[in-house]
Symmetry: none
Subunit: 155 residues, 2 copies
């Protein structure tokens, strides 16, 4: 909410949205200055919100003329998508990762909002988080079954 990390996240996403190329470049120190925070705060935001898991690539360069470049990688709708997602899930997956993946697919417009809600609910009801490795495996099986249906049948 009123935390700086969220504000920086929004700022970066807004800039990415305005960019035609889907990429932006800036200096870490400038951004830190703009939001009156320490430079390492920027790294925190990058690692928690712009991970490759969430569909971004971050490139940086140190030294004089250094910079940070953030590139948004659109999830293309293709045959590979199912493989990609399957690989990401593997034979077990945590609650947060599962929810994160579902949200990502929704943001990329590959599944509808109702489908996303439906899947989240199913996972919470049928494979709740009890820390048991059993639950992680069940969750993976369930999620893969569901995505098999959705990614194979055109919207």
């Amino acid at each position: 909410m009123a935390n700086i990390s969220d504000i920086i996240e929004q700022y970066i996403k807004a800039r990415l949205g305005r960019s035609n190329s889907g990429a932006i470049v800036f200096r870490r120190s400038e951004l830190a200055e703009k939001f009156s925070c320490v430079p390492s705060q920027i790294n925190y935001v990058l690692s928690t919100r712009f991970s490759s898991n969430r569909g971004y690539i971050v490139e940086t360069r140190r030294g004089g003329g250094g910079f940070i470049r953030i590139i948004r990688i659109p999830l293309e709708e293709s045959e590979d998508l199912l493989d990609l997602v399957y690989e990401k899930i593997g034979d077990q997956i945590g609650m947060n990762e599962a929810i994160g993946l579902i949200r990502h697919l929704f943001e990329e417009d590959i599944i509808t909002r109702r489908e996303a809600h439906l899947m989240e609910t199913v996972i919470e009801v049928a494979a709740p988080d009890h820390g048991h490795p059993e639950a992680r495996r069940n969750r993976a099986v369930l999620l893969k079954s569901m995505l098999m249906v959705l990614l194979r049948h055109k919207k």
Copy 2:
């Protein structure tokens, strides 16, 4: 009947009523302070009065800038439909009846084809037919949770 939980419930509902977005956000600690109770009392109210069964979604975030967000899910289809379907399911349901119900909702154009496939798959994977009464009950819980989402969210 003037217990704190009821008062907090009313307060939250009043705020939800005033909100045009149908959602409100607050800090757990602030609310607790406002009603002079321990913070965990808020969790109690949320879990007993704002469950998804009652048509709410509660999202939270811990850590700095943490918050609790409550969203009221408007009923899209008629309330009767939800009641009807709930009654039909009851505390337990067989495989064939469950599949039949799902198909019926699809034919009535209340859920999409993808949603129907998705639900069938979920039921087959998470509550397969083994003749155990346990399975019949799990299936009912799962199916009701799923329909709660779909019958409450606009297509």
